[in-house]
């Protein structure tokens, strides 16, 4: 037994992931195929937003905040306005709350469809990638029709929303929901709930037990996949969400078991697609006729905010989990003294890093993709043998190859080619 030679290999994954809002580096220590430690280094895309924010006023900050991330652009904007409204005690018209809910759920649909495709790609099912990203175009078109942009719709303003949802938009959205219900969701469910290969590949991969999820404060689908019934829209009784019948989705209602693995996280996302569509329909039924913002002009809002005192916290459930913003007033000026944001990927990354310990290297792409910071943009991985100092550079292609090999062991009929799609992601988000 003593003849077994142990040697650990350190593999840095990263640091540049162009598609992430936070490019990161995972330094993975391996004992053979088994991961024994994961270390994270962040800050490769540090833009100094907090420092810039000290020099902006409340209205200018709206548009800075929106550009933290392309996918969650509405969520950040929404959370920031909630923080400012809480700080200054501003009331929001009911119709504006409904419009916020509708746009928020449309964003959730497009974010979840994107992630379903990315996870499909990570295990070598490129058909899933093409199917779900094709379906995603429909909701992107609607967001463009409402907000004028595919991302960064700039819908929110302090005390309401900037654009109304008109009758033609309502028709388009209801038509889109019919399309998703009848043509997309059956296929998505077939793949992510019933396909034996997908189940064999995603089951028991990247398991985050409930204890670790609670200890590391995991957020969003990552937490709900582990069986924690938390959803900020529900906990916080946010806006009109209680009237829309919001409740946290856990995999229990779909599959009956909760294991906290990648499969469960995908089940939560499929469930939330259904829920988002229901919420949008209910919102259209209940939406009252009302004005859409409290202040007719931005300078009126700024004049009111100049007198504000104290601090406010805004919380919202973004597609990936809880986003939280903090704003403290600087009385007498039109800008805040302090603005700070936290995005859900931050705690989720540390939770998944803890959960990867004991897993195999081939599970890394799918486990990291499952919390939705999309690893498809991992450009290079360098393997350095600590004993000999030899260096071998693995590209994204090699890593994908390893992942596809593992899928082929389960189902030899898979004919995926390990092609890097990193560039596409970067394009989508900008």
């Amino acid at each position: 037994m003593n003849s077994r030679i142990e040697y650990w290999v350190k593999i840095p994954i990263g640091p540049i992931h162009p598609a992430l809002e936070e490019p990161e580096k995972f330094i993975i220590t391996l004992d053979g195929e088994r991961i024994i430690h994961v270390d994270i280094k962040l800050g490769y895309n540090l833009r100094g937003l907090e420092w810039i924010a000290m020099r902006r006023n409340y209205i200018q900050l709206l548009y800075l905040v929106e550009r933290i991330c392309g996918i969650c652009s509405f969520s950040h904007n929404h959370t920031y306005t909630r923080a400012v409204e809480e700080m200054a005690g501003i009331e929001v018209p009911e119709r504006a709350e409904y419009i916020r809910a509708i746009i928020g759920e449309l964003e959730r649909i497009h974010s979840h469809l994107l992630n379903l495709g990315v996870v499909g790609h990570a295990i070598g099912y490129d058909t899933v990638l093409h199917l779900s990203w094709l379906a995603r175009e429909r909701v992107m078109d609607i967001l463009e029709a409402i907000g004028g942009n595919r991302v960064n719709y700039a819908m929110n303003t302090i005390g309401g929303v900037r654009r109304d949802i008109e009758e033609k938009h309502k028709r388009m959205i209801l038509e889109m929901i019919r399309y998703y219900r009848e043509e997309v969701m059956p296929k998505v469910e077939e793949i992510f709930l019933y396909d034996p290969t997908v189940e064999a590949r995603l089951r028991d991969a990247g398991v985050i037990p409930k204890r670790i999820a609670l200890e590391y404060s995991a957020q969003g689908p990552t937490a709900r996949g582990s069986g924690i019934k938390k959803d900020v829209r529900y906990n916080e009784q946010l806006g009109v969400y209680p009237e829309l019948g919001i409740r946290p989705i856990t995999p229990k209602e779909f599959t009956g078991v909760i294991k906290g693995d990648v499969f469960d996280r995908m089940v939560v996302r499929v469930g939330e697609l259904w829920q988002s569509m229901e919420i949008i329909e209910k919102a259209f039924d209940q939406m009252p006729e009302d004005k859409i913002k409290t202040f007719s002009k931005d300078n009126v809002a700024l004049a009111k905010l100049k007198k504000a005192e104290g601090a406010g916290i805004g919380r919202y459930e973004a597609p990936r989990g809880e986003t939280i913003h903090y704003v403290r007033a600087n009385p007498g000026t039109d800008g805040p003294a302090k603005w700070k944001a936290r995005e859900p990927t931050f705690p989720n990354l540390f939770a998944v890093a803890r959960a990867l310990v004991g897993e195999q290297l081939a599970d890394v792409p799918v486990a990291i993709a499952s919390i939705d910071p999309c690893l498809s943009c991992t450009d290079r991985v360098a393997i350095i043998d600590s004993k000999t100092g030899k260096k071998k550079v693995l590209t994204e292609k090699d890593l994908l190859k390893a992942s596809i090999e593992k899928t082929k062991e389960i189902n030899p009929n898979i004919k995926a080619k390990p092609e890097a799609v990193g560039g596409i992601c970067g394009g989508v988000r900008l």
């Binding site: 280094k41 962040l42 800050g43 540090l46 100094g48 907090e50 420092w51 810039i52 020099r55 409204e85 809480e86 005690g89 501003i90 009331e91 929001v92 009911e94 709350e97 609670l214 200890e215 590391y216 404060s217 924690i228 019934k229 938390k230 529900y234 906990n235 916080e236 009784q237 946010l238 806006g239 009109v240 209680p242 009237e243 946290p248 104290g310 601090a311 406010g312 916290i313 919380r315 809880e322 939280i324 903090y326 403290r328 003294a337 302090k338 700070k340 936290r342 931050f346 705690p347 540390f350 939770a351």
Partner: protein, 174 residues
């Protein structure tokens, strides 16, 4: 547990300043703000974990408040309830002695936030298990904390290409 019960239980054990705020939304949301000295701070946070073993740690907001540095910790208690309890704990330290006890052994998820505040504001978290830098590059100068507003922060000479796009000075122009 209602916010009033929580406030009562905390007031029994700690000498702290507590106030609440409420939003003007359709379902008014109450937040509890607690100001505590750094000596009692760790005991208070341990007490929160006693009240709810599954307390969720959200964020540390470090601020430069002129003569002192403050850190605001946001916690969510009873995270599966609707509404849950939203608690913000504010503690502070003087600039000459910027030390706050670390929560690494109480809430493991607080360590990344402590590392972040340590490098950006120069608050030293005593007993932090992992004091390395997280966001700033390794060759960033020591002793400079970007979000400080005093002489330890970023000086105007260090700033390049920042500001309004139309007002950025081109190289070589006056």
């Amino acid at each position: 547990m209602t916010p009033e019960e929580l406030i009562k239980r905390i007031k029994e054990r700690f000498e702290v300043e507590i106030y609440t705020s409420q939003t003007k939304t359709l379902h008014p949301r109450e937040r509890i703000w607690i100001e505590v000295s750094r000596n009692d701070f760790k005991e208070l946070m341990k007490y929160f974990q006693e009240i709810d073993p599954h307390a969720q740690f959200s964020i540390i907001i470090g601020e430069d408040r002129g003569d002192h540095l403050s850190a605001t910790y946001h916690l969510e208690l009873f995270c599966e309830n609707s509404p849950s309890l939203s608690v913000a704990v504010i503690t502070s330290c003087p600039k000459e002695d910027p030390k706050i006890p670390s929560l690494g052994d109480v809430f493991p998820s607080s360590v990344p936030y402590e590392r972040e505040n340590q490098e950006f504001l120069g608050i030293i978290f005593e007993g932090i298990p992992d004091p390395r830098r997280l966001f700033l590059p390794d060759d960033f100068p020591e002793g400079i904390y970007p979000l400080r507003l005093d002489e330890k922060g970023i000086t105007p000479e260090m700033v390049k290409n920042a500001g309004h796009p139309y007002k950025i000075k081109k190289e070589g122009s006056k």
